[in-house]
Symmetry: D2
């Protein structure tokens, strides 16, 4: 079975996992058009220069790519990030960031996705492209 949209119950499992809870990142939607994430940048996300650490930005890009792929894969499959590349085009200032992921190519074993993060003013904060390996996940 191929999903057209990830079930809200599955999104909640992601939103309740350790990392999402720790950093306060949430997936709002993941369907055949892509994924939508939000995070509110606060001082606990920042490095010494006062803006979001690359790990926070890269984490949301990675997640946005992965959930865009999962929404296009059979429900009993998972995917693991083989590698990703992210450009950081503007500082992640305190305030809300929005992340969107989409599929570039869905191969039988390897899938490629991209994601972007925008700030509240619409400026692009980061852009990524990543490679994922599909695997049988037992419904996770």
């Amino acid at each position: 079975m191929t999903t057209d949209a990830l079930d809200p119950a599955i999104l909640e499992r992601w939103n309740n996992c350790g990392y999402y809870t720790l950093v306060g990142m949430r997936v709002e939607r993941a369907d055949s058009d892509g994924s939508l994430f939000r995070i509110e940048i606060t001082p606990e996300h920042t490095q010494l220069y006062g803006t979001a650490h690359g790990g926070i930005i890269a984490g949301m890009l990675d997640a946005a790519m992965a959930l865009a792929l999962l929404a296009r894969m059979p429900a009993d499959e998972g995917c693991a990030t083989i590698e990703m590349k992210a450009n950081f085009t503007a500082p992640g200032n305190p305030g809300e960031l929005t992340g969107t992921g989409s599929v570039i190519d869905m191969g039988r074993r390897i899938a490629v996705a991209r994601a972007e993060i925008h700030g509240p003013d619409g400026r692009i904060v980061a852009s990524s492209q990543g490679t994922f390996m599909r695997f049988a996940a037992g419904g996770a």
Copy 2:
């Protein structure tokens, strides 16, 4: 003045910044040979599959590259990540991960570094290459 090793007081400023505190990542050393980081992976770092989220891994790679560069730069300069690329070669299982960063090329405005993360068994968990812009930082 070019530093041969970042002052322990500067390392502590990094260790006490928001992101490092939130995720429990620590820089142990940063000098002209490179940087050394540690993190203890716990359930709060994990995604739904039970291993460290890509954001945690990417965050330590980014930091390890940045502090390897800072240790080779004048004390009144900072650097910002323009982009980074990370390969994830093994799962970040619960337990201690060690990150090391080193300089590939120190240009006048643009610098390039790499980093690796190893698990407790010595297996390579991740490997990265990143591009950084140098800037006048007022001692931060």
Copy 3:
């Protein structure tokens, strides 16, 4: 002065430069919407497995990104590739490949672009994201 489209005379200078001539790659168009390239893959482009070598694919991606940026920059500026990342999603089989580049972010000194290459059947062959440094080029 910002160009809305690169002058055909400038495109011809690119098409006549050493590398473009050597590999038989041509830029057809570069304007504010992006760039368009074509290459006919022949046996002289192939590796031992009989499909286009990564260098041919990466070269067209790099060029498609660069000319998309140049078309949005003042005519007296050039740009140099700082780094690029390319996914190879399908073999570059003998036949025509089409490359398109577009701008992700045009910073004051650093610019980010992406490009894609498609095969004659429409399948995506490669996808890239790259980082470029702007410089004063004296009209080159």
Copy 4:
């Protein structure tokens, strides 16, 4: 059977393939320590600014990574580049460039390698990291 060094006859098959011949790139050695490539940059390799086009540099990086991996794989396997990322740290000026590739991680299906290119003055011209898929190649 795992090779400790690629047979000179296999290296010659690579050196005689279309792309290597077209651009004049040669593999000198590929063994368990890595690979060694050379190319003499001439005007036919250059873009409009007079230095080696990114495609030439990326092509040698890709090849140096691939042959470092092949030298560590069974003789009846091949590998295909899934993706690669290259930093261009200095212009590829006319003259000889030397490329070296090495293995970062040899997984069962996915392998990761890096490569560097140096100019005649020893300066690093480019540095890459790439991801490869292993496949049964029938001795190619």
